[in-house]
Structures are given as structure tokens and as C-alpha cells.
């Protein structure tokens, strides 16, 4: 297995539920103490698309691939695929976590 950077997530201090940040309270138990946490940096493509007409701020980047990725711990995230391997993206394809960018969110790469 390719070594991957862990994915930053959040965990409710009261019930331990994991989530995608930001969350201001736990939707499961109502707890308001939310801590940073990590999960393994592996995922699988739940679904994918290539954006060819983009919102204004992204118009210079078309075409680009957006994926819904199934992660460990029953989490899922909408994310971008790092350019170079988009052609290999398909439902069920294994991905590894690339980075979390403050402006553009989570990025993944296709496992070759």
C-alpha cells in the first residue's frame, strides 16, 4: 500500500464522532467541544465528474475533475483530483490523500 499523508478531520470530544471540518457542534450528540483528528489518507471514488463550465473564480482551470470520495470511518468528502492522473478516475478507483488547501479544500491523487 502506498504511504499516504493522514487526512485532517474533527472529532467530537463527547461522543467521538468524526466529521469534516468545520463543524461548530456535533450534529449527533449536541456536544460543542470539537477537536482536530486524523484518519488514514486512503479513499475510493464514490462518483466523479469533469467540470467544463465553471463558476467565475474557477473558469481559468477548466477542465478539472471533482470526486466524491469514500473515506475510512464512514466519512465522505467532495474533493479535487490533482492534475496528471484524472483520466484514471473511475467509480471504485483507489485514491490517496494529497493535501488540504485552505482555499480549495481536499485534494487526492489516483493510485497508479
Amino acid at each position: 500500500m502506498v504511504t499516504a499523508t493522514p487526512i485532517p478531520v474533527i472529532r467530537c470530544r463527547a461522543c467521538g464522532r468524526l466529521g469534516i471540518p468545520p463543524q461548530y457542534m456535533c450534529d449527533a450528540c449536541g456536544g460543542c467541544e470539537i477537536d482536530p483528528a486524523e484518519i488514514p489518507g486512503h479513499g475510493r471514488v464514490y462518483s466523479h465528474t469533469t467540470i467544463r463550465v465553471a463558476p467565475d473564480a474557477f473558469a481559468g482551470q477548466i477542465p478539472y475533475t471533482v470526486v466524491l470520495v469514500d473515506l475510512e470511518s464512514n466519512l465522505r468528502i467532495t474533493a479535487r483530483v490533482t492534475p496528471g492522473s484524472e483520466d484514471l478516475v473511475d467509480v471504485g478507483r483507489e485514491l490517496i490523500f494529497d493535501r488540504l488547501d485552505a482555499d480549495t479544500g481536499y485534494w487526492f491523487r489516483v493510485v497508479p
Partner: protein
């Protein structure tokens, strides 16, 4: 004691590219049309609800409800309130009007939905519409709404063998339906080939799988059912109103092939009406994308999950089918002036239940309208019955 509520007047502008008409002008045209249809003087209106999404971003005008109320010359005692829930805004506005009349706090309520979009660029509209996403997460990725419904489509195809042809057939049906609708944006015949070969927007969704940016407004006048006959010979009763809350993003939706908000709103509205999906004669549902019509038709209970695309291919949703869906042309071909859409659907089904629609469904007695905001953050289902 809750009172029953009826629609006693309907009004609308055309939906489309309405050059030279601004947001307020459109709303006022629709309101005056509805007041005339209801034989009600503006001075008798006890409250105004405005369904609108992007008046500030696209038209540069906030406080839109009192702006419209003032220009209409409503009484100074009359509260004028905007409600917003992205593409669901119109459906929500209707429900608020219903509640006010039902409670007895108002006798006559005017509900208008309006949006002005076509003066702005496609990119500006795409950016504005995308503001209905969670801006701290999903919006950041650059996914468009077409992209989100493309993600739904790709997975629906993977799990249920839905095909791009099914999507094209939804669009084709709705374009065929709107040929007869004088209020529709698109009235020309569009071939299946043209739909299949249109430009890819977000794979597998092509241009004709996406609803067109449009201008428009629609309005209705509501009163208590017990008084409806004093205004009109053809009142239409609102027998079910429901609004629900889903998830704030597609990735947080447990099963992205089912919009729970629609399922829940439908269940509540059917329960309130004492009806079930089999009782519905005509439907106007939220086909912002061809894929959405397929998912909505399943979530509302008209077809089992996964069979919506096949139902379209079998002709079940055509005008002469088992359950006619979007005889108006729907969002795909009548157009989607976002805030106007939900009220525009009510306009269409009231004509159906009055027996005066250009695409009349024979003996239509029960109709359903449905909106979904974002990717299922909010949904409304409203059910209507011939008086």
C-alpha cells in the same frame, strides 16, 4: 383552529429572456395579473410573501419584499417579507402564505416568486447559484451545481444502469411539452440528436440536461377555503404543504442518490392531504437537471428507487402517461427563474385543476408541486385539489 386554504387567483409573466424588465417590474406584473384573476383589490391584501434567491447578487436589490409592496401600493399595515431557500424559495413562500391564512391572522395573502438573471453572464450566474452550497467546504472545490448533479448521475448510472439516453429523454419530453406553453422559455422543437450531441457541461450532463438561466415572476392569491367561492367560481384547494431540512452538502448526504428532504416533505404532505402518490394526476417537480427529475420522481414515491430513468424511457411520465411529469416543460424547458419557479409551478397546476391548461391532463383532480434547494438542503412538497 387551522383553516383550509385555497388559491383564488394566479398570475405570471412569461419565463425567458425578458429584456428591459427588472426584478421589481416582473414581480409587479405577476402580482397585478394574480389580483385581477382573483377579483381582489390590492388594498385588501393582508400580507405579501416574496420567494427570491439572488436579488442582491444578480439584481443589486435587497429588501425586495417591501420594495415590491410599496410599488404595488399595499396598505402600510401589510407586512411584506422575503423568504429564501435557494431554488426552493417559491415553494417556501407559498407555504408561509398558507400558514398565515390558515392561522386566521390574515384573510388575503399575495405570494410572488421572482428572479432576474439573464442580464448577468453565465459565469456570474453559476457563481451566484453556487452560493447555495456550503461555502466553507463544498463550494471551495469549484464544483458547480451541474457538477453535483453530475456526481449523482454517474453513481446512479453505476448502481441502477440508468443511461445518458434516459437523461436525454427527460430533456426531450420536457422540451416537447413546452412547445404548447406560451409561458415557456423554449418553444421550438428540439431533436433527440441535438440533445445527445450538445456541449458537455459536467460529465455526463450536457447543455440540454441543464435548466436555462431565465427571468420571470409568478404570483398567487390565497384565502380561506370557506370564503373562496365569494371570489371565484374555480378555487383550487391546498390540501398538503410541507417543508423539510436535509443535509448541507452532497458529501454529508448519507445516500446521495436519495434526497431525504424530498422523501420527508412528500411523506408529510401526503399525510396532511390524506393521499398517496397513486392519487396524483399531474406533477410539476424540480428538474433543475435531467438527473434531478429522475431522482425526484423516485423520492416522491412515483417509481421505485433506480427505476426513474426507465420510467421515462417507457413513456410513463409523458402527458398521456401513467403520471404526467412537468407538462409545463419544467425547469429544463419552461425555464428556471430561481425564486419564481415554485410559484410558477403552482400557476401551472392551478390551470390544470381548473381544466384550462394548454397541455391539459384529462380529468386532473389532484396535483403536486415540488422544489429542492441546493443538493437537498431544503425541500417543499405542496399538494392541490380541485374544489
Amino acid at each position: 383552529m387551522a383553516r383550509s386554504v385555497s388559491v383564488i387567483g394566479i398570475g405570471t409573466t412569461a419565463f425567458g429572456v425578458l429584456e428591459g424588465k427588472g426584478l421589481k417590474a416582473l414581480a409587479i406584473d405577476a402580482c397585478n395579473d394574480a389580483l385581477k384573476d382573483a377579483n381582489v383589490d390590492r388594498s385588501a391584501i393582508d400580507a405579501l410573501y416574496v420567494g427570491n434567491f439572488l436579488s442582491g447578487v444578480l439584481a443589486g436589490q435587497e429588501a425586495i419584499a417591501p420594495q415590491i409592496g410599496y410599488q404595488l401600493g399595499l396598505r402600510k399595515e401589510t407586512p411584506c417579507t422575503k423568504v429564501e431557500g435557494a431554488c426552493c424559495s417559491g415553494g417556501i413562500a407559498l407555504r408561509h402564505g398558507y400558514i398565515l391564512v390558515s392561522s386566521g391572522l390574515a384573510e388575503l395573502v399575495l405570494v410572488v416568486g421572482v428572479e432576474k438573471m439573464t442580464h448577468a453572464s453565465t459565469e456570474k450566474n453559476t457563481e451566484g447559484l453556487a452560493m447555495a452550497m456550503d461555502h466553507e467546504t463544498e463550494l471551495k472545490t469549484g464544483v458547480s451545481f451541474a457538477g453535483l448533479f453530475a456526481l449523482v448521475a454517474k453513481r446512479h448510472m453505476y448502481e441502477f444502469k440508468t443511461t445518458p439516453e434516459h437523461l436525454a429523454l427527460v430533456s426531450h419530453k420536457n422540451h416537447e411539452n413546452s412547445i404548447n406553453n406560451p409561458r415557456a422559455r423554449f418553444r421550438n422543437k428540439v431533436s433527440l440528436e441535438k440533445i445527445r450531441d450538445s456541449k458537455m457541461v459536467a460529465d455526463p450532463l450536457r447543455l440540454y440536461d441543464c435548466c436555462p438561466i431565465s427571468d420571470g415572476a409568478a404570483a398567487v392569491v390565497l384565502c380561506a377555503t370557506e370564503n373562496a367561492r365569494t371570489f371565484t367560481e374555480t378555487p383550487v384547494d391546498i390540501v398538503g404543504v410541507a417543508q423539510s431540512t436535509g443535509y448541507n452538502s452532497l458529501y454529508r448526504t448519507p445516500n446521495p442518490l436519495t434526497f431525504d428532504a424530498t422523501v420527508i416533505a412528500a411523506k408529510k404532505a401526503f399525510h396532511m392531504a390524506g393521499l398517496q402518490p397513486d392519487d396524483v394526476d399531474v406533477v410539476e417537480l424540480h428538474d433543475c437537471f435531467s438527473m434531478a427529475e429522475i431522482v425526484d420522481s423516485e423520492d416522491l414515491g412515483f417509481f421505485p428507487k433506480g427505476r426513474g430513468g426507465f420510467a421515462v424511457a417507457d413513456g410513463l411520465t409523458r402527458l398521456d402517461g401513467k403520471i404526467p411529469i412537468n407538462p409545463s416543460g419544467g425547469l429544463l424547458s419552461k425555464g428556471h427563474p430561481v425564486g419564481a419557479t415554485g410559484v410558477g409551478q403552482v400557476y401551472e397546476v392551478v390551470r390544470q385543476l381548473r381544466g384550462t391548461h394548454e397541455n391539459q391532463v384529462r380529468n386532473a383532480e389532484v396535483a403536486l408541486t415540488h422544489n429542492i434547494g441546493g443538493t437537498g438542503q431544503v425541500a417543499t412538497v405542496n399538494i392541490f385539489r380541485r374544489h
